[in-house]
Amino acid sequence: MAKYIAKRSALAVATLIAIILLLFLLLELMPGSPFNIDKVPFDTRAMIMEHYGLDRPVMERFAKYLANMLKGDFGISYSLSKKTPITALLAIRLPVSIRLGVQAVLLGTIFGLALGMAAAIWHGKAMDTIATVVSVLGVSLPSYVFALTLSYFAGFRFQLAPMLYQASSPIYSSVLPTISLSMFTIATVARFTRTELLEILGSDYMLFAESKGISGAALFFRHALRNALIPIITVLAPLIVALMTGSLVVERIFSIPGIGSLLVSAIQANDYNVIIALSFIYSAMYIFIMLVLDILYGIIDPRIRITKEGE
């Protein structure tokens, strides 16, 4: 197990360094980046080069850059919010995005599980059809289709919930974005739970458990659901990706001051420092979550947890 964790961690660190290298190279080569200064007069250039340490060898600059990134020092925003340290922007916006993401995952998992379980229990009945339709819609359609639909109908026309985010009521005004973001999670979890449960309900060990006299809730929760939920961790990875991409558009549609809308604004304003900082944050979060999921999977599933013995 320790070896397994060490191996996964090493790969995660390698990936993170690869990303920083990528960002560094991009910064060096990017047209219009503050360091790409072909148009600047020669002596000014030399001055700037010296000031930013650009006359140092590439490796040294990369080492410094790496250290800064890992320290969380991303420099300042150029055009979006002038002269503000990016760290300050993040301190306000990151919690908003994380809260929205957590809300969506919670809502999606609870509803998805319930829907998938209902579909498996009433297999072939109306409930099953509903679950199938919801899964197909949720998996196929990008979250902004839901966001736009909800924003227009539920937010604007029928005024069921706020159409725009208000910092004064962070939960109530994030109802619609949370639903939009969670649709993919609901669909994926429901589809997965249903398929797994159906397979398990027909499995030999369920029959054997029944044949020793186990029935009802004990049978369903102790044997069926437990086995169904272990591999659900494998579908969480695409969910995280979908949440991250989804947050960009959903935050924009509902004017949520998170890092998703910040990234979109930065892209539109060509604020390179912010883009790079957010790329790093997104990648680091992604890599970290993947690492945690991998390790979690190893802990939960006894087949990975314990290496084979006694054969």
């Binding site: 197909v136 902004y144 604007f156 589809r191 390179y272 790329s279 997104y282 990648s283 992604y286």
Partner: protein
Amino acid sequence: MQAEFKENDFELSGKDILADHADFASEPIWKDILYRFYKRKINIVCLSVILFVIFMAIVGPYLSGRTYEAQIIEHQNLAPRVQGLEKLGIFDGSEKIHYSNGTSAKVNKYRARDDLSNVYYWFGTDVLGRDIFTRVWMGARISLYIAFVAVIIDIAFGLTYGLVSGFVGGAIDSVMQRTVEIINGIPNLIIVTLLIIALKPGLFTITLALMLTGWIGMSRIARAQALRIKEMEYLLASRSLGARAVRLIFVEILPNTIGQIITNMMFSIPNAIFTEAFLAFIGLGVPLPMASLGSLIADAFKSLTTHPYMISFPVGVLVLLMLSFNILADGLRDAFDPTMKER
């Protein structure tokens, strides 16, 4: 029950029992797959929708007689109006304006102005007075081009990469697989975003972005299949199972391999279309005045509350494409491998 016996009842029937079983030979596998595919009606519906969108993407932009970029300022914000249908009270050029205080009013700009009495915009016009009908089908063109690119990438990169990695094996396989793991460790969103910032936004850049990220899934499947085939070859060589094993490879393994590859290809199409639409929405799409479904949606989003019809058409076509490709891919997977079917 054993009332009457016939005279010859207790004679041996004396038939050649083996001859009777000649028809036990299985149906050709492709027939089975096609049969299973056609049996699911929704597959046919989705296929028809896709063919319809392809058809409209080809001829649609020429139907209204207006170009996608022509701006007629006097014609801005006109609601959809279709000849014939307007008599039924729908698509008659009127739209309901909803105010934030809950009241609404019905407006028909075509009737209000004399110069518009004979003007028809089937899907309406946008804020610059451009024909949304033409722009939507131009946008569908972009989406279908992206779909085509996704398929090419799957074959050219994913399939090749996976097959080479699987068949060559050894150290090369290890290096190739670690590379995939690292690339896979970076969110696609970031790769694509950075790439497009580094280069100029446009169709070429989006294509390049898809090339960098779109092939991973396919390469994994191709590699797994390559390993399976390799194992079968090994079986063949070592045990000389003869005709039976050859049959196994051709009847079971190969159709399964091809099935998985085609299915995966089908799934990568909606993913690619989504990626483009997403990028366009956050402002990294094709440059103006070109239109893609994503950029049309992003554009019309600004008029969501005032002129909702503007956004409904590109969203509708995008939804149709995404749903159809996804359901079709599902159907293909089930047709190729009925055991994989989600019951």
